[in-house]
């Protein structure tokens, strides 16, 4: 009898550890999925407070819309360091505002950010905040927080496969990610559930739980297309369950793995108008 019990316990432990291992391997593939070394895009962000009308959530007020031209390039041995430039096209009140951002894979290497306000006429260094506590505030006033836009480091979370199910006609793993101690200190989330497409290793849906363990956001990746041989969710919906606000992030146009000059991802782009506009014009000819 003891032998049977011991076998069951060992089997259970083996299954559990293999489950965690599998989950981590899956998430490794999700994180490592090729998103292109460069990205040139025109992004539309539309946000509003929603109310239930019949069976649908509809905007209760006129959506706030921002349109941005974005250029990103990955660096480093793992292509996990990112440099990006974003220029606001709409609304007219913010037209011409430019952001330059450098994100680093290395832990404890703070993001570098510069802001160019055409009205102010100078480049201003932005303080991104303390890395050891959660950041509040939203990305361009949307329901995306800066944390939602960050790249995920595999070792920052422990993973567990909760099960498998068909979600939106795709076989998916449902994987739970719990931030490790160091990550938990600075994360707004205590738990994330992802629906990972088994075939394409892309999250179709994510649920984010706040630090009190309450469901706070749902993120849906839609219109998943293959562009320049890379999977791209062209429309991402985030629904904030607390504020009852939603944001659609739509890639109106996008091109990947095109040649982007290193010099374009420097402060020169923010201040040198002729260089910025002529280079952007060339890049935008790649857009689909």
């Amino acid at each position: 009898m003891n032998k049977y019990l011991l076998t069951i316990v060992i089997s259970f432990l083996l299954i559990s550890s293999s489950n965690a291992q599998d989950a981590k391997e899956i998430m490794q593939k999700v994180i490592d999925r090729d998103d292109g070394t460069t990205e040139i895009s025109r992004v539309r962000l539309s946000s509003c407070r929603v109310i239930k009308k019949g069976q649908k959530y509809v905007c209760a007020d006129t959506p706030r819309v921002k349109v941005l031209d974005m250029v990103r390039k990955d660096y480093g041995p793992n292509e996990k360091d990112h440099k990006s430039v974003s220029i606001i096209i709409e609304p007219a009140s913010e037209k011409g505002i430019g952001f330059l951002q450098y994100d680093y894979e290395k832990i404890d290497h703070d993001t570098d950010q510069w802001l160019y306000l055409s009205a102010l006429g100078k480049v201003k260094r932005i303080v991104s905040g303390n890395e050891n506590e959660p950041k509040t505030g939203s990305f361009f006033g949307t329901e995306f927080s800066y944390e939602d836009m960050e790249s995920i480091r595999l070792e920052d979370y422990s993973y567990k496969i909760l099960g498998s199910e068909t979600y939106r006609k795709h076989a998916c793993w449902v994987i739970e990610s719990i931030p490790e101690k160091k990550r938990a200190l600075k994360s707004n989330y205590s738990r994330i559930m992802d629906w990972i497409d088994k075939k394409r290793f892309i999250a179709l849906k994510s649920i984010l739980y706040n630090r009190q363990g309450k469901k706070v956001k749902k993120i849906y990746n839609n219109h998943i297309e293959i562009i320049d041989n890379i999977l791209v969710p062209r429309k991402i919906l985030v629904f904030n369950l607390e504020t009852k606000r939603r944001t659609y992030l739509t890639y109106e146009k996008i091109a990947l793995n095109k040649n982007v000059q290193d010099i374009f991802l420097t402060q020169r782009t923010l201040t040198d108008s002729v260089f910025r506009e002529s280079t952007l014009k060339k890049y935008q000819s790649y857009l689909k």
Partner: protein, 485 residues
């Protein structure tokens, strides 16, 4: 025994199979997650699909089935109506209406005007860029500037920028009326001395709106050792001071008994400068140098006009040289800033009333500022700045000038409602004069292109010998509405 062993496995497999076949998730149901589309031309798509019960039209994300090509092209066509040409597309227009009330003195209206601003930034060819920024204000009869000119209505225009820029591989050249912004300090002028400012509305014009351009030929040169900016201005302009009899005009006793001639710099007076700028990771550094004309004037006694029996006083804008440095370093939630400048032969006002000796004295001075910005991870931001002007030599015969002039400036700002409402509090304090003011500002983006800015400013002036003493009763409430298109 065998049956007992396999029974739980069969049950487990059955549950898994049922769960995977069933449309609803056992973890989270999307039953009520149905959103209206965010594009108007999708409004007709109202069909609720219980199988994929959440999105507007896009649940079927199979690449073979759904092609976004047509969808996005259609959107582009809608976004570009026939009347959009390149210049219009690259333009921004602002219609504004503003008024302000003095909270101490009567009558209370100070400013009351409407304005139109046009900004164009467009690429004319692959190498040629054009920038224009101009503004016209229509001042109503109760505006202090209209009243000073004894008119019922007044139009004031201001050409802030108009220049062409030609781009090359490593550099560009710009010619025309341009604004140049130097340095890191947000309040006192340390190295930001090139572009003149509009002081006609005292401190109530935001710094970014107060600067205006002057004719110059400039070039940015980009090298691996840093970026160089060089400019030559053949006809430097000077600050716009408050006009005679307007609200913020300094009514210094006796000034009306003088004939004043404004001797502004001409085409013979050239201003030129250079800035080198480089970034190393968390550090941004710039060094500036040049020869400039002071943007504010010094009064000089010229002669007596015997016909009018009045002394003639000339306002002269003196040349001086400057070398300066500005640097910032960011670490975590803090940004540290430093800025310093050595100004050679800077002129100050001398006044010896007994001997009727009115003129300029040249001094070599050191301006310095240190600042700190703190970002509480998006909850709020605080910035502080201390600046000091030090005149090493004697200052006894200078008016409105002390050996040390130290100011402290702090800003607290906080965003609300997804960055659509911003509260800002500014506090300015002059250490030696003990003058200070508080300013509260609320910026509300009522819609994407419609903004309301209201601000309230309270002065507390202690030093009767200071220039700011003249503004002790200028507490003001200002409201501005701006529509952008």
């Amino acid at each position: 025994m065998n049956n007992l062993f396999f029974y739980p496995i069969i049950v487990f497999l059955s549950i898994t199979l049922i769960a995977s076949i069933h449309a609803k998730s056992i973890f989270d149901s999307d039953d009520d997650m149905v959103f209206e589309p965010d594009n108007s031309h999708h409004q007709s798509d109202e069909i609720f699909d219980p199988e994929s019960a959440f999105d507007d039209d896009a649940i079927i994300d199979d690449d073979a089935v759904f092609s976004n090509e047509s969808f996005f092209q259609e959107e582009k066509e809608l976004a570009d109506p026939w009347y959009h040409n390149q210049i219009l597309k690259d333009s921004r227009f602002t219609l504004g209406y503003e008024f302000s009330n003095n909270l101490v003195l009567k009558p209370s209206f100070v400013t009351h005007d409407t304005y139109f601003r046009s900004e164009i930034q467009t690429l004319l060819t692959d190498k040629l860029f054009f920038q224009f920024d101009g503004r016209s204000n229509l001042l109503f009869d109760n505006d202090h500037r209209t009243q000073a000119s004894n008119k019922s209505i007044r139009i004031v225009s201001n050409l802030r920028e108009l220049f062409f820029q030609i781009g090359f591989n490593q550099f560009n050249i710009s010619l025309g009326r341009q604004i140049v912004v130097w340095g890191k300090a947000d309040t006192q002028i340390i190295t930001d001395i090139v572009s003149p400012r509009d002081n006609s509305d005292f401190i109530f014009i935001k710094l970014e709106d107060s600067r205006f351009g002057q004719l110059m030929l400039s070039s940015d040169i980009y090298t691996q050792w840093g970026n160089l900016f060089i400019f030559v201005s053949p006809h430097p302009l000077t600050d716009n001071e408050p006009e005679n009899e307007t609200q913020y005009y300094l009514e210094i006793p006796g000034l009306d008994q003088l004939i004043i001639i404004d001797d502004k710099p001409t085409y013979a007076d050239t201003e030129y400068g250079i800035r080198w700028k480089k970034n190393w990771g968390k550090v941004d550094l710039s060094i500036m140098a040049g020869c400039f004309f002071d943007n504010s004037s010094i009064y000089h006694f010229k002669m007596i006009d015997f016909a009018q029996r009045k002394p003639i006083i000339e306002k002269i804008y003196h040349p001086y040289e400057m070398i300066g440095l500005a640097a910032s370093y960011v670490s975590g939630a803090f940004l540290y800033k430093i800025e310093t400048a050595y100004k050679n032969r800077l002129s100050f006002q001398k006044l010896d009333a007994v001997n009727f000796d009115i003129g300029a004295i040249e001094k070599n001075i050191v301006d310095m500022g240190i600042g700190l910005e703190f970002n509480a991870n998006g909850r709020y931001q605080i910035a502080g700045e201390v600046t000091n002007r030090f005149i090493p030599s004697a200052t006894d015969n200078l008016i409105f000038t002390k050996k040390n002039s130290t100011t402290i400036y702090t800003i607290f700002s906080k965003d609300f409602f997804n960055n659509t409402l911003m509260f800002e509090y500014n506090f300015f304090y002059h250490v030696q004069e003990q003058n200070n003011f508080h300013q509260f500002r609320l910026t509300h983006d009522m819609a994407d292109n419609f903004q309301m800015i209201s601000s309230c400013t309270f002065f507390s002036m202690k030093d009767k010998e200071s220039l700011l003493w003249f503004y002790r009763n200028e507490d003001r409430l200002s409201v501005t509405f701006q529509y952008y298109f």
